[in-house]
């Protein structure tokens, strides 16, 4: 594994870092003066309203959008097509075409295409790796099922298997709660925590659903064009911060963030 910048007093590598990042579309700032850091082995949640720049922020981290100003580092270097290969990206599941004519196994195999290389078909070895990934998410029985026939939660797990098949160090998730029922959501976040612990990978996820993020992230940032908070989940609920995020007439349902996050925070202090 490559050397990474580490923080003083914190031996964990910094996997993604933004320093004073500014992005504009059509002369309008969508991200202003963003500073954030995501360390190895943590689930980092970014929460904020729709249109607050969350998806743009993910694209900046992946190097798909170049900021007008500021420094972006992915595993210690500017994001490009090489270090991006160590990132597993999960789109919003609604984006995938429901009638796309492939099986669950085909999707997982896509995670290996880059390693298989041009002009070659996935061989038995690739299939073995893909099947192993499917077993790890308890979806081996669904390998031959058409992807479009699976539920939202199952599709999301298949995407996780696809992303993990390429052995990434960082997973980037765009609105993982969309189109997934709440039981499947719980399973999904458990799975994320499991992979964080077993493979020591990091996760960056964005959502407008503040309850989900605070319950499952180790650290969070609250984003509405600017970062209004950056730290551990529970203190994000200061009325002042909430107002900056969602405006004066906010009415957000929160399911007891305190107790759900304390166990996760203990995890962070383990080392």
């Amino acid at each position: 594994m490559k050397e990474h910048e580490t923080d003083i007093g914190n031996k964990k590598a910094v996997y993604a870092e933004l320093q004073n990042v500014w992005v504009s579309y059509y002369n309008k700032w969508v991200l202003k003066s963003i500073y954030l850091k995501c360390y190895q082995g943590e689930i980092f949640g970014i929460v904020g309203p729709n249109g607050g720049g969350k998806s743009t922020l993910l694209k900046v981290i992946l190097g798909l959008v170049r900021p007008q100003k500021g420094v972006v580092k992915l595993f210690g270097h500017m994001p490009d097509k090489h270090n991006r290969l160590e990132v597993g990206y999960l789109p919003q599941i609604s984006k995938a075409d429901r009638s796309f004519p492939v099986t669950a196994l085909d999707i997982v195999l896509m995670g290996l295409y880059n390693r298989i290389g041009f002009f070659k078909r996935p061989g038995s070895k690739s299939r073995e790796v893909a099947m192993e990934m499917l077993s790890r998410i308890n979806m081996a029985d669904h390998a031959k099922k058409p992807f479009g026939m699976l539920s939202g939660g199952q599709q999301q797990r298949i995407h996780i298997a696809r992303a993990l098949a390429s052995k990434p160090r960082l997973l980037v998730l765009d609105e993982p709660s969309t189109g997934v029922d709440s039981v499947a959501q719980e399973d999904f976040y458990e799975l994320l925590a499991k992979f964080r612990d077993e493979m020591n990978i990091s996760v960056i996820m964005v959502s407008h659903d503040i309850g989900v993020i605070t319950a499952h992230a180790d650290r969070i940032a609250c984003l509405n064009l600017e970062i209004h908070y950056h730290g551990e989940p529970d203190s994000c609920f200061e009325p002042e911060i909430m107002q900056k995020l969602y405006g004066k007439n906010l009415n957000v349902m929160v399911h007891d963030p305190g107790c759900a996050t304390c166990s996760l925070m203990k995890h962070e202090h383990n080392d």
Binding site: L64, R84, L85, Y89, D97, M110, G111, Y113
Partner: protein
């Protein structure tokens, strides 16, 4: 049976059938990706813009097939480039190029001194038009399209599934897009004599769309698309011969009928 022998004794019918049989798998496989990537309007735009290329050939007194290939490839890639870089959607870019290329075509035809050009044949297909030279071009370019899709199949499939995920996973997304637009343009041009510019865009959609009604796996889908294209071209050519109609029209009507049948079968299946 005697009727079939009679037909195949005619050189132009033999040529037309050879062309149809070679074009069917090409159009079917291309249509598979056109349907998955929702590029059917790009197909329409590229097909119509080939008209400008044909007219340019007549104007310059050189092979209209060659100028059409160059023109269609240039226009399809321009559509792709503007769609990726401009502030316009690909949809708007197509609307502009489509009209521009057709208008250029009309001007070139007006300026050229050839008045006996079979424009109707280029627009709607002419069963009599296929020469041995055309067959060679169809074989070469059609073969190139099929072989290159075979070699890049998994990458094209991944990009069709989700462009951004494919990009992050190291797929050369921009190259694959322009490559696909190029082979789309080639497929249009080699089909234009028998199916016609106006009608070929139908066959860039219908075989794949028809197959998608009755299967959700890609290998059967491609096989069914090829079967749909073969049935439509062979049946359409026969009907075109007996009814003395433009071959492109009979082929497209037959393929549309097959689409509606499979659409209904698909409804009952689910």
């Amino acid at each position: 049976m005697n009727i079939m022998i009679e037909i195949f004794n005619l050189e132009f019918m033999r040529n037309a059938f050879m062309a149809g049989i070679m074009l069917s798998p090409v159009l079917a496989v291309v249509s598979f990706f056109v349907v998955l990537r929702r590029l059917s309007f790009v197909g329409v735009g590229v097909a119509h813009s080939a008209f400008g290329g044909i007219a340019l050939g007549f104007f310059l007194g050189i092979s209209p097939t060659l100028t059409a290939i160059a023109f269609a490839i240039a226009v399809s890639n321009a559509i792709g480039y503007i769609g990726r870089h401009g502030k316009l959607s690909a949809d708007t870019a197509i609307g502009i190029f489509f009209a521009f290329a057709m208008a250029l075509g009309v001007v070139f035809i007006g300026l050229s001194d050839q008045y006996n050009v079979d424009l109707f044949g280029y627009l709607f297909g002419n069963i009599l038009a296929i020469t041995t030279n055309d067959l060679i071009i169809i074989a070469l370019l059609g073969g190139f399209v099929l072989i290159s899709i075979f070699l890049l199949f998994k990458e094209l499939l991944f990009v069709s599934f989700d462009r951004e995920v494919a990009l992050v996973s190291g797929m050369p997304v921009a190259f694959l897009y322009h490559f696909f637009l190029t082979i789309l343009a080639m497929s249009v041009v080699i089909s234009m004599k028998i199916i016609g510019i106006i009608l070929v865009s139908a066959l860039l959609v219908i075989p794949g769309a028809a197959a998608s009604q009755i299967t959700d796996r890609y290998i059967p889908m491609i096989a069914i698309a090829i079967a749909v294209a073969l049935t439509s071209t062979a049946g359409g050519l026969l009907f075109s011969y007996y009814a003395d109609l433009a071959s492109g029209a009979t082929i497209v009507i037959l393929s549309s009928i097959i689409f509606f049948i499979l659409f209904i079968v698909g409804r009952f299946r689910t």
